[in-house]
């Protein structure tokens, strides 16, 4: 669980934090002066996690790819305004959240699910799901796919804010106080959004529960 005082993208190594932080600041300074290789190195530090976030938020490879690019272009254009005493991962996380939120708001109202990638060597959504059970039970796999599909449909019925809060809480494990900050709202408003999201999901998935 990550608390609001430390908004850090999960997965970063904890060893030699001071050294890593200084190394990262050096990269940022160079990137701010226009060093493209430094910017590329900065992207590589975080881009897998950014892609994971956007993919879990949008559940579509195509949209995740678009948002990945939008996030890093925004970062590139506004990196000059980033103050080095702040934590870069928190700033980046805020950019990701805002971009996803804007996308969800634009998308609201479209009823069809995004087309799945498929064919010609591209991976379909189901194949992209993590699978660490080599001896998978086919019935269990089928049920998991059904639940995933029903969940996806149910998530699209949520408002953009409800969806954002639910994903950040349920999938990313952030505290509601931190979620409120990222979404530009209060902790109480984030709690209400989470509650409404859970209510709606319970109604839509009642036959599966």
């Amino acid at each position: 669980m990550v608390d609001g005082a430390c908004l850090e993208l999960p997965g970063k190594h904890e060893t030699s934090r001071e050294g890593e932080a200084e190394g990262e600041r050096a990269l940022i300074r160079r990137a701010q002066r226009g060093d493209r290789s430094a910017f590329d190195a900065l992207v590589r530090l975080y881009d897998q996690e950014v892609l994971r976030l956007t993919l879990r938020m949008l559940r579509s490879e195509e949209e995740a790819q678009d948002l990945y690019q939008e996030v890093f272009l925004k970062v590139y254009r506004s990196l000059g305004r980033f103050r080095l005493e702040a934590r870069f991962s928190t700033w980046l996380y805020r950019v990701v959240t805002n971009v996803c939120f804007d996308h969800l708001r634009r998308q609201k109202g479209r009823s069809e699910l995004p087309a799945r990638a498929g064919g010609d060597g591209e991976l379909g959504y189901a194949e992209a799901l993590a699978d660490d059970r080599p001896g998978l039970n086919p019935e269990q796999a089928l049920r998991a796919q059904e639940i995933s599909h029903r969940l996806e449909v149910a998530l699209r019925q949520l408002s953009p804010r409800e969806r954002m809060v639910f994903e950040l809480k349920h999938c990313q494990g952030l505290k509601l106080r931190a979620i409120g900050e990222l979404c530009g709202t209060s902790e109480e408003a984030a709690k209400n959004s989470l509650f409404r999201a859970v209510q709606k999901l319970r109604e839509d998935l009642s036959d599966l529960v």
């Binding site: 000059g80 699978d131 999938c171 509650f195 319970r202």
Partner: protein, 317 residues
């Protein structure tokens, strides 16, 4: 606490969002209230159901595509006016007032420069009688961009000047890929041009002639040696459609075993498994897949290789 308030509280309880006092009060209420216990259990079942949904993980191929697209977008961004202005302004540091003065100075300078130069352009004297517009020796400079001037040597005796410069001229070639000259330009581009996006587009253009010997060699070269994984992936996709020979099989096996990028390794595996039976490759391919299923550094590659081993074993039966 009444039971209606507690409906919201049960979600927050399961997400560990309650303070110590609230938590204690909630748990005390649960002891006495069967309806709230039932409601909590329903919410808990919902959480368990949501936990059964596997979370999507980005594939290596998706990551490669994202990185390649971002690389191209940043290349365009760097050539744009925004980047030039940003680079100039960054020199003045973070002080907003200084930056504003810098912008204003730039605008005023541009205006004054234009105003100063414009009347001069009109007042250029006409050519003296007998003079010609281009009385110089050398190549036609139309449509030429000067990159570097290495020497300017005036000749006091003749009044002339010798200028040595490097220039590039934009040339547009159009034609069919049946034309060997066009093909050769494209093959050279695949082998040596420094922009990976152009190399990838070139591979796409060469697709219909992939069985031409020089094109084939260039494709396999790109698959083996190109520094950009997106380009290697494009070469691999084109190679799949070639007439297979020992060179293609070996290039794909090398990609499967040694390519640094997991997305390329998976694509090579797919191509080899697809053709394994018709190419009689099962005996060669199976041990490689088994080894990678056990020891590849990438978890996704290990899983896919294991699935491929099962598939080949199934086909054998």
């Amino acid at each position: 606490m009444n039971c209606d308030d507690l409906e919201k509280t049960s979600s927050l309880y399961l997400y560990d969002e309650l303070g110590a006092n609230e938590r204690a009060a909630f748990e005390a209420h649960l002891v006495a209230c069967a309806a709230c216990r039932t409601r909590l259990e329903e919410t808990r079942r919902l959480h368990r159901l949501l936990g059964q949904c596997p979370q999507p993980e980005p594939t290596p191929e998706l990551l490669v595509r994202c990185r390649q697209a971002l690389d191209d977008a940043l290349d365009h961004e760097q050539l744009g006016w925004r980047s030039l202005l940003r680079g100039w302004l960054w020199q003045f540091g973070p002080m907003p007032a200084t930056r504003a003065v810098a912008v204003l100075t730039l605008v005023l300078f541009g205006f004054m420069l234009g105003w100063t130069l414009h009347p001069r352009a009109r007042s250029l004297p006409p050519l003296a009688p007998g003079a010609t517009a281009s009385s110089f020796m050398g190549p036609d400079l139309g449509d030429v961009r000067i990159r570097h001037i290495s020497e300017v040597a005036p000749d006091p005796q003749s009044g002339g000047v010798r200028i040595t410069l490097d220039a590039e001229r934009r040339v547009t070639l159009e034609g069919s890929l049946d034309d060997p000259r066009i093909r050769q330009v494209l093959v050279d581009t695949v082998r040596g041009y420094d922009n990976p996006g152009i190399r990838r587009d070139t591979l796409d253009a060469l697709r219909m002639h992939r069985d031409n010997p020089s094109v084939r060699a260039a494709l396999l070269y790109a698959l083996r040696h190109d520094t950009n994984p997106g380009v290697r992936l494009e070469a691999l996709k084109t190679a799949r459609g070639m007439q297979w020979g020992a060179d293609v099989r070996q290039a794909l096996l090398d990609a499967l075993e040694h390519d640094a990028n997991p997305g390329v390794r998976v694509a090579a595996m797919d191509a080899l498994v697809e053709h394994a039976q018709e190419e009689g490759m099962n005996e060669t391919l199976m041990p490689v897949l088994e080894r990678l299923a056990a020891s590849d550094q990438n978890r996704y590659v290990r899983l896919r290789c294991q699935a491929a081993v099962w598939k080949l074993a199934e086909n054998e039966r």
